[in-house]
Structure formats: structure tokens, C-alpha cells
């Protein structure tokens, strides 16, 4: 229940989630792709589903000299293309009448003062009580300016003389590029907004299947007793992308690399959901306390030797993806021809806790792999070498529980079954649950859920300061080893369209394991 929802008697009992409250949503970087393709369609779809609170106003803040109409036209065009539920003119008009554009440079203090006046004016005209949600979707180099100017304009604190109103900020990734920059950004944020009002977005956590990890583990009695080193041999987390550096992504990506772009945030978040202890409750801090313990327990690969042993970095060379010839990473648009940036990374992660001692978590992420898929597979230990296992041929495979995050969300379980016939032969069979098959209705986009949660003051699916910093600490050690030792830790090569470099296979082979074939 939202803070002010308590006094609305019609809210009580109506919905079973935290209540999103009406507010002004101010989007910084409003002319960008994220706003047009994700944020506005998410708000629109919430309106279609009747979930968007009445009285939500949207202000786009950006540098270009646009009018409200120009801004709305562009948003409408994209919404027609990408909206999950199609485009209903009446709902759109209703939403668009509450969409405005505010032109200002991000460094211009005066622009923020005008913004404050405009927000007050809107509240006065439309009866809003002064709730503000600031969404920083600009390029990361402007994060500091935006936060500091919000503070100077008095927008980062809840308004005086208002009853239980709030001011919150959502910060898009990348949240820093190193531990030091993340700490700096956290300091700036902390000097501007309280931690409870800070929402560091990781859209992977808004995905239906990511949320389902906790349900799978803690709402089914059969899994949790086996979710430990006694029964689980290892875990694999794979995030494969078939795309390369299309659409000018090379410029950003060549500075970031796979480790910082995906592993530091999305994949470590997934790892922490898989490995965390049951939280004491489902509150934001209850869940995040347990997640951060996992990240804090990651064994640090803090010497070049350890990095060489436990991490493989790679770049694709020219190859073939989906029947199409594609260039190598260093030949991609806006990529340095001598680039040392990894477009593929594979890690062996060890979690030094009682539950996971000795159980490796293998994480890999790569561009230009054969297909797009993000999956977590939990590989159970083999059965004792008696009975069927002692027979010639043994048992074909261990049990594997697979949680598919995207694109074909679902869960499957591999188990062994007797083949029909007079002899005893076994084959693995797959029990498979597909969200799309069982639930015809499409799931809300991650941004829909996350925007609604921020309006409701529920930070469960957002990263906390310590989570972000602990993740950077782990990543920085690896990165530093790569940088300090330069070419001592080589970059492995693999043909585009394959499943990554041979070195990644060898890392698992040393442990007597193989990567799962997706």
C-alpha cells in the first residue's frame, strides 16, 4: 500500500501489490531511443491495462529544441511500431494529453528552475500532490550534472508542506564503469536523493522469468532441499547474442566490453537470485540483503594468474551467422582495429558460502554467437554408481533444470527414462514448460513492471548501492588484471556464429565438464 493510499478507502483490498501513486515522471534524455522504444510504450501499456495511476504526467527533458507536439508525434510513431498491446487512439490521446516537453541543456541550472516551476504549475492545475519520479535515461556522462542540478533546484527532496509526497530517481545503466566511478556516482546520488528513493534499474530483474526464479525456488517444496552443494554439481548462466555491433553500437561497446556491459549487472543479478539464501521476507531490503551476500561471497580473482585460470576473454573473427557473412569484431563499425575489448567472456565463479562451497557457477556472455538466448541451467550431481549407473553405458546424463530467461521464457527439466522395449535402456527426456504455450497472454515488458514498482515505492527489483559496488569490486579485479598485464592474458579468437573460443571449452574441460548446448 502506498503511503497516501491508506486514506483512500477504495484502494483497500482491490489489488494485491504495492500501489503505484500518481506522479510527474520526468525523463532526462527524452529524445533518445530508450524513451521512445521502451519507456513511453511501457507507460502506454500500463494505461491500456488500467494500471497507470490517474494523474500521471510525463515531462521529457532534453536538449533539442522541440515542442510538445513534435515530441508527442515522435512518441506516437514509435508506439504504433513497438507497443506490446498495439495502439489504441483513445488511450493514446488520453496519455499524450499528459505528455510535455521541456527543452534545456543538462548543465543549465536555469533549465531546472524552470522545470521546478513547471512541475508546480502542473500540480496546481491538475491537482497533483507533488510526487516526482526522475528517470535518468541520458548518456552516462551527464548523470552528475543532472543529479546536482536537481538538488540545486530543490527537486530532489519531497516538497515542503505536502502530505507523504515523494521525490524518487531511477538511474539507467551503466551505473559506473569501475568501482571508483560507481562509488563516485553513488556519492553524488546519496548527496541528492535518499537511498530509499534511489532506483538503479536493471531491466533483467523486471523480466517475468527472472522474477520466477524466486517463485520456483521458494514456492515449490521439491527444489529448495536440493538447492545446495550436496545435490548440485554446477550451474551455468549463458547470455548469447547473435547480433554484433549493428546500429553504431560499436562506439559504446568497444569502451565497455562484455564483462562490464552484461556480467557486472544482468548476469551477476541472475547469479545472485539463483544462489541467495531464502530472504526473511519479500521486502525490498529482505531480498537485497540476501542477494548482496552472494556477490560479497564471490571468490575474488585478484591476481593475473587467477584471472588467467578462471576467466576467458574473446573476440569473434569473420564468420557466418544465420546464413549471413559477418565481419570480425575489429572490423566492425566504430570499433578500434587494435581493440583489446572482449566481445565474449566466460568465467568460473566460486561462491564461498556453506551452501555453495565447491560448486562452480560458469557464466558466459558473447556477441555473434549462433543464436539469441539467456538461460540458467542447474546441473544436478550424478546418482551413485550402483543399480542403473553400474550397468554398461550407465545413466546417460545427470538431471538438468533449465530456466530460460529469453526469448522463449520457460522452465525445463531433463531426466532419464526407460526406453520402451524388453531391454533396459535409458534416454534423457525433457519436461518442458513454456510461458507462451501455457499463458497465451503476453507478459508485461520489464520496464512496465519496473516503472510501476518505482511509482509504488517498491525497490525489490532494483539494485542497491552495496550490490552495485560489490559487483564492481569483483569485475574490477578481472579488468585490472587484463589491463595491467596487457597482452600477457591473450584474447582468444572464435569464428562468428560458433559457441565461443576453444579456451572457454577447455576451462570447463579441466573440471571434467562441458558447456551446455543451447
Amino acid at each position: 500500500m502506498g503511503q497516501s493510499g491508506v486514506s483512500n478507502p477504495f484502494r483497500e483490498d482491490l489489488v494485491s501489490r504495492n500501489l503505484a501513486e500518481a506522479c510527474s515522471v520526468v525523463i532526462f534524455g527524452a529524445t533518445g531511443d530508450l524513451t521512445h522504444r521502451k519507456l513511453i510504450p511501457a507507460l502506454y501499456n500500463l494505461a491500456v491495462d488500467g494500471e497507470l495511476p490517474t494523474g500521471v504526467r510525463i515531462l521529457g527533458f532534453a536538449r533539442r529544441d522541440w515542442s510538445d507536439e513534435r515530441f508527442r508525434e515522435g512518441l506516437e510513431k514509435l508506439n504504433r511500431e513497438v507497443s506490446r498491446t498495439g495502439h489504441d487512439d483513445e488511450i493514446w490521446e488520453s496519455l499524450a494529453s499528459n505528455v510535455h516537453y521541456h527543452q534545456s541543456e543538462f548543465q543549465d541550472e536555469n533549465g531546472y528552475r524552470r522545470l521546478a516551476e513547471r512541475l508546480d504549475q502542473i500540480d496546481q492545475e491538475r491537482g497533483g500532490k507533488g510526487n516526482r519520479l526522475f528517470y535518468i535515461a541520458s548518456a552516462p556522462e551527464y548523470f552528475d550534472d543532472i543529479l546536482l542540478n536537481l538538488k540545486k533546484a530543490g527537486l530532489s527532496q519531497s516538497k515542503e508542506n505536502c502530505n507523504a509526497c515523494w521525490s524518487r530517481v531511477i538511474v539507467e545503466k551503466p551505473f559506473g564503469t569501475t568501482l571508483a566511478t560507481a562509488q563516485h556516482l553513488n556519492q553524488v546520488v546519496a548527496g541528492t536523493f535518499e537511498e530509499k528513493d534511489t532506483y538503479r534499474i536493471d531491466h533483467y530483474l523486471g523480466k517475468e522469468t527472472a522474477q520466477n526464479i524466486m517463485v520456483l525456488r521458494f514456492a515449490n517444496a521439491i527444489f529448495e532441499p536440493m538447492w545446495n552443494k550436496e545435490h548440485i554439481d554446477h550451474v551455468q548462466i549463458t547470455c548469447a547474442e547473435h547480433l554484433g555491433m549493428e546500429g553504431g553500437r560499436g562506439g559504446y561497446y568497444d569502451k565497455a566490453g562484455a564483462l562490464r556491459d552484461m556480467v557486472q549487472n544482468h548476469l551477476l543479478q541472475l547469479l545472485s537470485l539463483v544462489a541467495m539464501e531464502p530472504p526473511t521476507d519479500l521486502s525490498a531490503d529482505g531480498v537485497r540483503d540476501e542477494k548482496v551476500k552472494v556477490i560479497r561471497s564471490l571468490r575474488q580473482w585478484d591476481t593475473p594468474e587467477l584471472v588467467a585460470e578462471n576467466v576467458v576473454r574473446g573476440q569473434y573473427v569473420a564468420g557466418n551467422v544465420n546464413g549471413r557473412e559477418v565481419p570480425g569484431y575489429r572490423e566492425e563499425d566504430r570499433v578500434d582495429p587494435d581493440s583489446q575489448t572482449e566481445a565474449f567472456v566466460a568465467l568460473r565463479c566460486m561462491i564461498d558460502t556453506w551452501r555453495w562451497s565447491g560448486v562452480p557457477f560458469y557464466v558466459r556472455m558473447g556477441k555473434r554467437l549462433p543464436k539469441k538466448a539467456t538461460e540458467i541451467s542447474v546441473h544436478f550431481k550424478e546418482i551413485p554408481s550402483v543399480l542403473f549407473n553400474a550397468m554398461p553405458g550407465g545413466v546417460p546424463a545427470g538431471n538438468v533444470l533449465v530456466i530460460r530467461i529469453q526469448p522463449d521464457e520457460g522452465i525445463s527439466l531433463m531426466m532419464n527414462s526407460k526406453l520402451p522395449g524388453t531391454t533396459l535402456r535409458m534416454e534423457p527426456v525433457k519436461m518442458d514448460f513454456h510461458y507462451a504455450s501455457s499463458f497465451g497472454k503476453s507478459s508485461p515488458e520489464a520496464y512496465e513492471r519496473l516503472l510501476l514498482d518505482a511509482m509504488a515505492g517498491d525497490a525489490t527489483l532494483f539494485a542497491r548501492r552495496d550490490e552495485v559496488e560489490e559487483a564492481w569490486r569483483f569485475i574490477d579485479h578481472i579488468h585490472n588484471a587484463w589491463n595491467e598485464n596487457g597482452r600477457d592474458i591473450p584474447i582468444a579468437e572464435f569464428p562468428a556464429g560458433s559457441w565461443g573460443p576453444r579456451e572457454a571449452d577447455e576451462m570447463l574441460a579441466k573440471d571434467g565438464r562441458t558447456w551446455r548446448r543451447l
Binding site: F10, L14, E90, G127, A436, K441
Partner: protein, 357 residues
């Protein structure tokens, strides 16, 4: 095959004793399709003419709710006692890719034979999956304890009942018999879902929130065929606001608040209007209004007062039963709010019936 009851589209006629074998063959014949099922979905009617229409409705419902559908129509007027059965599968492309199919078994039961409905139901369920039972029409003598105690969710539409008071009393007995385990879902209640959501959202407005204790008038407009839906909506408003029914005079009723202030309720009926066409709550300094044009998929919502006005368009509930059932199945839940509102609703229903006497 019945001569007067349309059965086209129900699929392949089968002997009742070989339904399982026939279903197995049906699936074996098409390896490209996936048989999906999240529940046993049973649709029961005592109007055999509806059987075909129900099959078409299930076809639509299975787009979002994979199930084993069992359609049963009871032809109680027939003199000969016999059973006819058909099987088919409703298939849809899931996200434009895989063909997902739900199987359907349709039964036409002729003649009076107590226990046959129950036995037909129990013999054709998918083990372990929840049993959702859509009872169409009045609760008759076939709505009996040995049947309903095994239901997980009972769906019905009180708008179709000739005597809602008697129907709800029968429902209360059934709930008592099942010790509240059976989840009940009245489509008349579902009809007001987005109205209730809109009221709650509009009263998030701080000015409207302050006005709640000052509400003095409630105006309700609707189609007389959906009186129960409108009374349920009023019962919800009254329960949340802690108002009690006081007296009724034609279409002008009086409710009383805890502080003894009176609230005037004015009904307006129009046979051309949407099932629920308007709800307007008026306080001295504030008016909250939700309206819907007949056939429109949107609710127009507004809060007006003290120099400000907020207008908003939001979704409206479906008019037809299929859409209501689909949205209800999507929402799931135990529907405890409906049970909370029932006592006040029964008081209003009694007030309505005393007015009619």
C-alpha cells in the same frame, strides 16, 4: 444425433466409452501441435441450444487459457435417456510460432437422470489440474453438494437469474458446505472491475480523497438487464465507505453513513445503455465521474473541483461473457473482496425486493 439441436463445429462424434482412445488418436495424428493444459474448464448449460455457441466461446478463450475443456449441455426435456459426445481441439499459433492446442470434449445429455452430470464431469477430468466450472443459468437441483465440493472455482452470471436473492442464498449454502474452499466468481461482479479500479484511482487524488466523508449523492446509470452488476458496484462503494441501506423509494434510495449523514442514491435505467453506464459520486466541493458509452472499450474518468480537473481514459470491462471469463481467469486470486461485499449486497438486494413487493 439430435435433430433439433445444432452440433456442427463440436468436432468428431465419439462413443462415450472411447473418448480417451479417440483423444489419444487425435494427438497422435498431428505431431506438430503441442497439447497444453493449465486447468479443467467445464461449461455447463441446461439450454442445449447453447452447446455450439459455448464451443465457439471456448475456442476464443483457449487463446489465452490453455485447458481441457468439457462442455456439457443437459436436454432435460427429452424423454429418451441417452448421451452424445464429440471431441475436437482448438489450436492457436503462440506468438506466431508454435501451434498450441487445447482439447475439448462436448456432451449432450438427454433426459432426466440424477447423478449423470456429476459422473460425466468426474470421468473426464485431467488429473491434478484445477477444476474451473462455469455454470450457465440458474442453480437447479443438479447443483448439488457432491458436485460442487470438488470444484476449485465456480463461475456464474447472476445477471441471468430470474430471482437473484434466491440464487445468492443457494450460493451461500454451497459456500458453507464447502467451508469456503470453493472460489466463487460472479460475472456481474467482474463487469464492474474497471469501474472499481477507476474509482480507486480517482480517489488517489488528494482533493477527492478529502471529499470521501462528504459524499452526499451517488448516481448510477445502467442497462436494466444488468441490475445486479450495478447493485454489486453500489454494495462495494457502500462497504468501502461504511454506508448502510436505509430506505428505498422507487429509483431513489437512501443510505446512511456512520456519522448518520444521509447519502442519496439515484438510479437511471436505459435499455440502450452499457451494462454499467455511469457512476457519479458527488460531494459539495468535488465530483468523481466515470461513464461509458454503449459498446465503447473505454471508461471516461474525471475528477472535478476546487479549480482543477483531471480527465482520463481507461479500459472498460468486456460486455460479453467470454471476455469477462477470460479476464477473470487471467486475474485468478481468491476473490475475497467479492465475499466481503456480499453481506452489504444482500442487504441492498433485500431492500430492492421489499421495494418491489
Amino acid at each position: 444425433m439430435s435433430a433439433t439441436i445444432p452440433t456442427e463445429g463440436l468436432g468428431m462424434p465419439v462413443e462415450v466409452g472411447s473418448i480417451d482412445t479417440a483423444l489419444k488418436k487425435l494427438w497422435e495424428a498431428d505431431e506438430a501441435s503441442t497439447n497444453a493444459s493449465l486447468m479443467n474448464f467445464l461449461v455447463y448449460t441446461e439450454d442445449p441450444q447453447r452447446l455450439q455457441k459455448n464451443s465457439a466461446m471456448v475456442q476464443g478463450l483457449t487463446r489465452e487459457h490453455a485447458c481441457r475443456a468439457v462442455l456439457i449441455a443437459m436436454n432435460r426435456k427429452a424423454t429418451e435417456v441417452k448421451v452424445e459426445a464429440w471431441i475436437t481441439a482448438h489450436c492457436h499459433l503462440a506468438h506466431g510460432k508454435k501451434s498450441i492446442c487445447s482439447e475439448q470434449i462436448a456432451f449432450l445429455l438427454h433426459g432426466k437422470s440424477l447423478g449423470r452430470l456429476r459422473n460425466t464431469v468426474f470421468a473426464h477430468l485431467n488429473s491434478d489440474l484445477p477444476l474451473v466450472f462455469w455454470w450457465q443459468g440458474e442453480f437447479t437441483d443438479l447443483f448439488e453438494e457432491r458436485l460442487y465440493r470438488l470444484l476449485n472455482r465456480l463461475i456464474f452470471d447472476s445477471a441471468t437469474w430470474s430471482d437473484p436473492l434466491a440464487g445468492f442464498r443457494r450460493l451461500a449454502e454451497a459456500r458453507e458446505d464447502t467451508k469456503g474452499r470453493m472460489i466463487t466468481q460472479d460475472l456481474s461482479w467482474t463487469r464492474s472491475y474497471f469501474y472499481r479500479l477507476a474509482v480507486a484511482r480517482l480517489f488517489d487524488d488528494p482533493m477527492a480523497q478529502k471529499a470521501v466523508p462528504e459524499i452526499r449523492e451517488v448516481r448510477l446509470k445502467g442497462n436494466p438487464a444488468y441490475r445486479v452488476a450495478i447493485l454489486l458496484l453500489l454494495a462495494w462503494v457502500a462497504t468501502r465507505s461504511k454506508w448502510k441501506p436505509e430506505r428505498a423509494c422507487g429509483d431513489e434510495w437512501t443510505l446512511v453513513a456512520r456519522n448518520h449523514k444521509e447519502i442519496s442514491v439515484i438510479f437511471e435505467w436505459d435499455e440502450e445503455a452499457a451494462p454499467i453506464a455511469a457512476l457519479v459520486l458527488t460531494a459539495p466541493d468535488c465530483e468523481v465521474s466515470i461513464t461509458r458509452e454503449a459498446g465503447s472499450p473505454h471508461l471516461c474518468q474525471s475528477v472535478v473541483g476546487q479549480g482543477h480537473r483531471v480527465d482520463f481514459s481507461g479500459p472498460a470491462d468486456a460486455d460479453e461473457a467470454e471476455g469477462l471469463v477470460a479476464s477473470q481467469l487471467s486475474r485468478g486470486g481468491k476473490n475475497t473482496l467479492f465475499l466481503t461485499v456480499l453481506p452489504r449486497f444482500m442487504e441492498l438486494l433485500e431492500l430492492a425486493s421489499s421495494k418491489e413487493r
